[in-house]
Amino acid sequence: MTDQAIMPVPTEALDTQGAIDWLKDKYPEAVQDDTRQGYGGVVVDRSQLTKIAHAIRDDLGYDYLSSATAVDYLGISDHIEMVYHAYRTAGGPPLVFKAQTPRENAEIPSVVSVWPGADFQEREAYDLFGIQFSGHPNLKRILLWEGFDGHPMRKDWQEAYYEEEHKPFESRWPKGWVRRAEELNVFGKNVRYPADLDLSRLTDVSEDSLYKGMGLGVDVQEIVQEGEHIKTDRLIVNMGPHHPSTHGVFRMIAELDGETIEALEPVMGYLHRNHEKIGERNAWLMNIPFTDRLDYISSMGNNMGYVQAVEKLLAQGARYTPPTYRAEVIRVLMVELTRIVNHLWAIGFLLNDLGAFFTPALYAIAEREKVLDFFEATAGSRMMCNYMRFQGVAKDLPERIHSTAVTVNDKVRDYNTMEFLTELINERLPRSIDELDHFLTESEIIKTRAMGVGILPPEMAIAYSAAGPLLRASNVPYDVRRAEPYSIYPELDFDVCVRPNGDVYDRYLIRLDEMRESVRILKQVLQRLEATHGEDIFSGNKAIYMPRVPVGESYGRVENPKGELGFYCVSEGDPKGPQNPWRYHVRAPSFINLTPLGVMCKGHKVADVVVILGSIDIVLGETDR
């Protein structure tokens, strides 16, 4: 632990309101309460943001920056706002602070010097909102390419397939006639060119700027020239976006000295699917199936995070009733099953990255099929479950699990659901976990390859906003389920797993630990499932499909298998008008966990990069959104 982590925090006893009062006392001109209806936290004068951020971290002890994102209030107050959610690693609610800037020449000081974890998040805000972060060490586009026209998350930026402001659209079949979005565009494609398109510029400049501005301090050209004078070869090596071990369309640019990594920078955006822009046009309910496609290995967890964020907003209204007990039990059942599936997958494919091609993965994901059978029987889909709803879940568990395939063999899958679950949780999953443990943990090859590789010290893990297994393997016992409990977790008996070394091996071990804890939770959930059999899964009289969401903001976060998944939602506007989020932001653990990748890889060999990346366990749907 460094000075920063053990620094005495004089005001640690302060709750959030106490912290806000302290800030207002100390900086009376620069800090104001956010008095808008439904909002919380403070608004900070942007000229003093860095100074105040230092005070928030050092004096008030909010050492963990969970989320930093921008909102465009065009037509409401005509400014762009950066919203920061800072937490204490000791637990407790967040301190929310905001900095506002005019829409023209938007500029906000960077807080990367305070929380390095803001690095990628600020780059994303620059990319999508066009905010200049003064003092940012490497400000360039992250999800889109250099040279892209405009900043698409601004409210006045219109898409090529732009049809209407919000969903549901008036009609895609006006008066019974089909209208395809392509037909509105002369190019017949989803493209939009600026009116002053310079045809002489029809060459791809995105790559050049990527290498030049990647903060390596060297130019590609210079290396070639230098190579004649220096004995070691210094190369720039490009891995991805098509690479078998990057877990998707992820790309890394590494500068090598011999085989040693001198610097490494992740390049992403190859799966940027405009989740947030689409989310702003959807009605609230329509975003649930989209959240499935964020972290597509653990879709139930994403559902949970989103419904929690929206329920927080709904709770400010009059007609809200919290989900029933059985609904919460089912949610936890689904989420913990998802966690096991995800970790099985992560371990299997970590072994793939270690060179044990596909055999361990086949063993690891064998039991996954059983869990997916259960998901399919309950929610209707193997992967994209779209299962949770506001104030409840979509369906109760079925009495029996049938095969969905209509074949002569449809007796192959026909179980009583509770018996199936009991066998799965008490026998099959523990057996599978023990099997992995037995074959892998003591393996000499794994120990040699994984121990001492990619070490992330605890103070760095906190500073870089690492989350989930990555954070806990670095000896920081921070788990949202305990730090800011939600759902029925307070009444469940489980431990927060933690490992001391912060290397790849510990990240492997902590996934085994967490799976065992999940099994422990699931056993308690089974008892509660039986006790609540037949009770309502929706609170209130019926399922609310199109809720009237009160004006305000909310930040809901859950402990997803890959880390802390947060949803920042803003509801603005006419309660009688279209009901869609004004802002819908995803704090994606896979995205933010990549911030320390370059630091972790430095000094290791090329082959280790793949392993370190595998141990972070990213999924590109969530990284790029």
Binding site: L184, F187, N190, K277, I278, R382
Partner: protein, 282 residues
């Protein structure tokens, strides 16, 4: 791996005595080419998004597509026969995809797996999403689903095998790679202010000229949708629609305009016929 059954290869046109059918097969060159190709189809190890997870599940022990001779997934496009485009194709990613496609040796096949690769899927409206990989490279099989189940993917692969069976060396439309000279590479898109398909350069140039003259550029409103009127004067309606659609579209792209006009005319005929039928009934 299945053992070689010669009866599978045998062409029934040529008689072989029954007792020799296990040892002798007479067949056409096309058939033996197709048979060998379908029996060792090597897909590229290439995952884009969610569908890739189901693709892996299909390769895993429960579904196991090695039963069809497809288990050898290659990381390099130079060793692959089939590119399974498994997931959302973004504008940033379509550039490497086209490059990978060009690097694959012929004969090569493309499968669009899932809604996104087939037509943009749920993300179609997104500013960074390509509405289907078929806008850039030719696709042989589309597999619907979001994501398709392993069963659906396997059905797609079997459909592709059936496509092989129908190919004939005598017909160069079927197998262009046996023609003279190499096939043309697909031009690689350029990431400019938005993605630019070199094949559309002329159209983009025309549009840029329009913009320079201060004329409406890019976005175009469709001619108003004609609502079927209850049989008042269908004859007057017909030329009006056709004229309107050609007027707006002709300055843009004559080919497209002609297509639009043709379609509008067909629609008008249909409406007229319907109106007449309704009139008769009334």
């Amino acid at each position: 791996m299945s053992t070689l059954d010669l009866r599978e290869l045998h062409d029934t046109e040529f008689p072989v005595p029954a007792d020799m059918q296990n040892n002798v097969a007479i067949t056409s060159l096309s058939k033996i080419y197709n048979w060998s190709r379908r029996s060792s189809l090597w897909p590229m190890l290439f995952g884009l998004a969610c569908c890739a997870i189901e693709m892996i599940a299909t390769a895993a022990s429960r579904y196991d597509f090695s039963r069809f001779g497809m288990e050898v997934m290659r990381g390099s496009p130079r060793q692959s026969d089939l590119m399974i485009v498994s997931g959302t194709v973004t504008k940033k990613m379509v550039v490497p995809i086209v490059r990978l496609y060009n690097q694959m040796p012929e004969p090569k096949y493309v499968m669009a797996m899932g809604a996104c690769a087939s037509g943009g899927g749920p993300f179609k409206e997104g500013y960074n999403v390509v509405s289907g990989i078929d806008q850039y490279v030719p696709v042989d099989v589309y597999v619907p689903g979001c994501p398709p189940t392993p069963q659906a993917l396997m059905y797609g692969l079997i459909s592709l095998q059936k496509k092989f069976d129908g190919e004939s060396l005598a017909n160069l439309d079927d197998v262009p790679w046996y023609g003279v000279g190499p096939s043309d590479a697909v031009p690689i898109p350029v990431l400019g202010p938005d993605i630019i398909d070199p094949r559309q350069a002329e159209l983009i140039r025309q549009q840029a000229m329009l913009a320079a003259q201060g004329l409406p550029f890019g976005r175009r409103e469709l001619p108003a949708v004609a609502v079927p009127q209850p049989a008042v004067a269908p004859v007057e309606e017909k030329p009006a629609i056709a004229a309107a659609s050609t007027e707006t579209a002709e300055e843009i792209d004559p080919e497209k305009a002609a297509r639009l006009a043709k379609r509008e005319a067909a629609l008008a005929r249909k409406r007229a016929a319907k109106a007449a039928a309704e009139g008769n009934e009334g």
